[in-house]
Amino acid sequence: MSFIFLQQIINGLTIGMIYALIALGYTMVYGIAQLINFAHGEIFMVGAYLGLVGYSLLKLLFPAGGHGPLWVAGVFIFVMPCTAFLGVLIERFAYRPLRNAPRLAPLITAIGISFLLQNVVMLIFGPSDKSFPAILTVKNYPLGRAAVTNLQLFIACVSIALMFGLHFFVKKTRTGKAMRALADDREAASLVGINTDRVMSWAFLIGSALAGAGGVMFGMYYNTINFHDGYLAGLKAFTAAVLGGIGNIPGAMFGGLLIGILEGLGAGYISSSWKNVFAFHVLILILLLRPSGLLGARVVKKA
């Protein structure tokens, strides 16, 4: 096994974790509302920029410091509630009024919101790349001739923890069960007394918090962020969600990791300038060969 292979798997898994976090938001909202929230990638991007804002605010409060685990925690604690709030706001004012409209209407609205967020960020922060502060000092750990960084390990740990948290939430809590009930049969969910609007807000809240966390880690990993970043990452995460079977939570995690690995290997063995092409080949193939996704067994239309 060449070291390039191992190295690209490590790199691919890292970015795959971030794709998976974003993909969860797509898949949760789709499962509950049958809506592709194309603004979700932008929430991820806003998360990255809010990471910058949070860091600057912390810097104002504590001019002496600047990096370390506490700072990382501080930035996350700032960003995740902010993006969660943004997601809830978007649902409330952009999608909820269209709940009974034809399905094309919320889709177009989602694209509109996506442009809106991109342009607001561009107006505030400018169109050029912004450098993201190095909140963690990067250390290399050799693995044969390949290497893994503490940042990569950190991204993996945080992502896995968040995914486990989500899994627990959906499986065990009252609201989580209500979400699954809603995904199964919205009317029946109303009939047992579930406030469907509130559960919908929860789905956006959680999905957007995860995307925010993904945005911060994206910034930490690549060191620069741009208002365009959400578009591409969002599309790839969407691909991941479709690959795993849209509406399927484990599928989204799996799909994200797979897209990441594929991208890593493609970049290592073919060309890194072609990196973005691979994910979309997968999207085309999956739509042709298995539109329900790898783990999505059921596409039974209810009458």
């Binding site: 069960k177 699954r180 009930a181 049969d185 009317e187 029946a188 009939l191 007394g193």
Partner: protein, 233 residues
């Protein structure tokens, strides 16, 4: 307990209920019979606030409830077992029962569950199975048990015998009586007119969105119109 008067309701431009007046006295079983498309399901869905009413009044225990959303209707104690069972198919039987108690926060939920499993013993061995794997009769049991978990005061049953084998039908109707004996008021909508009338204290015949006949179950069983149109005699 439930007083509905001059209720108009429907979907889009189509009006289905054209001035329905129905009374459900506390503690009784009231049946509503009628053919397909007469408006039976629309009536229950309007009571559950899933279909928006156009005009008329709905009073539950003296309070008007026309403007309440579906979840608050359930909290008031009006719980529906919808037509076609409408299980949460991918959730387990146990989770379906838990969701039945979604509106409750008290400590007697697990006790109620134990009690219901006595009433619906079929479900006991199936707790960990996805509800979608149950047979039609078992799903009907689960649908009723799920509704009872909410501790309803008025239970709305939409075609509980639909698609069931005769033996299972028997079980379902005797369960409805048992549920009623526990003090739960029942509003039953059925195509199986004979069964529904035999069970009912009071009954209504609904035709194209209006009440055609009303009376006690016995009176309607012997009424010429009912005999001719609904009992096939």
């Amino acid at each position: 307990m439930l007083e509905v008067s001059d209720l108009h309701s429907g979907y889009g431009r189509i009006e289905i209920l054209k001035g329905l007046t129905v009374n459900v006295p506390a503690g009784k079983i009231v049946s509503l019979i009628g053919s397909n498309g007469a408006g039976k399901t629309t009536f229950l869905m309007t009571l559950s606030a899933l279909v928006k009413m156009r005009s008329g009044t709905i009073r539950f225990e003296g309070k008007s409830i026309e403007k309440l959303p579906p979840d608050l209707i359930v909290r008031l104690g009006i719980v529906q077992v919808p037509e076609g069972r409408r299980m949460f198919h991918r959730l387990t039987v146990e989770e379906n029962l838990d969701l039945g108690a979604y509106t409750r926060r008290d400590r007697e939920i697990s006790r109620d569950r134990q009690e219901l499993l006595q009433l619906f013993p079929i479900l006991k061995d199936r707790l960990k199975y996805p509800a979608g794997h149950l047979s039609g009769g078992e799903q009907q049991m689960l649908a009723m048990a799920r509704a009872l978990m909410a501790r309803p005061r008025l239970l709305l049953l939409d075609e509980p015998s639909l698609g069931l084998a005769p033996k299972m039908m028997e079980v379902v109707f005797s369960l409805i009586r048992k549920i009623n004996q526990k003090g739960i008021t029942v509003l039953l909508v059925e195509q199986n007119a004979w069964r529904a009338l035999a069970l009912a204290d009071y009954a209504y015949v609904i035709e194209s969105g209006q009440i055609r006949l009303k009376g006690t179950g016995k009176e309607l069983l012997s009424s010429a119109v009912v005999k001719h149109s609904y009992l096939g005699e």
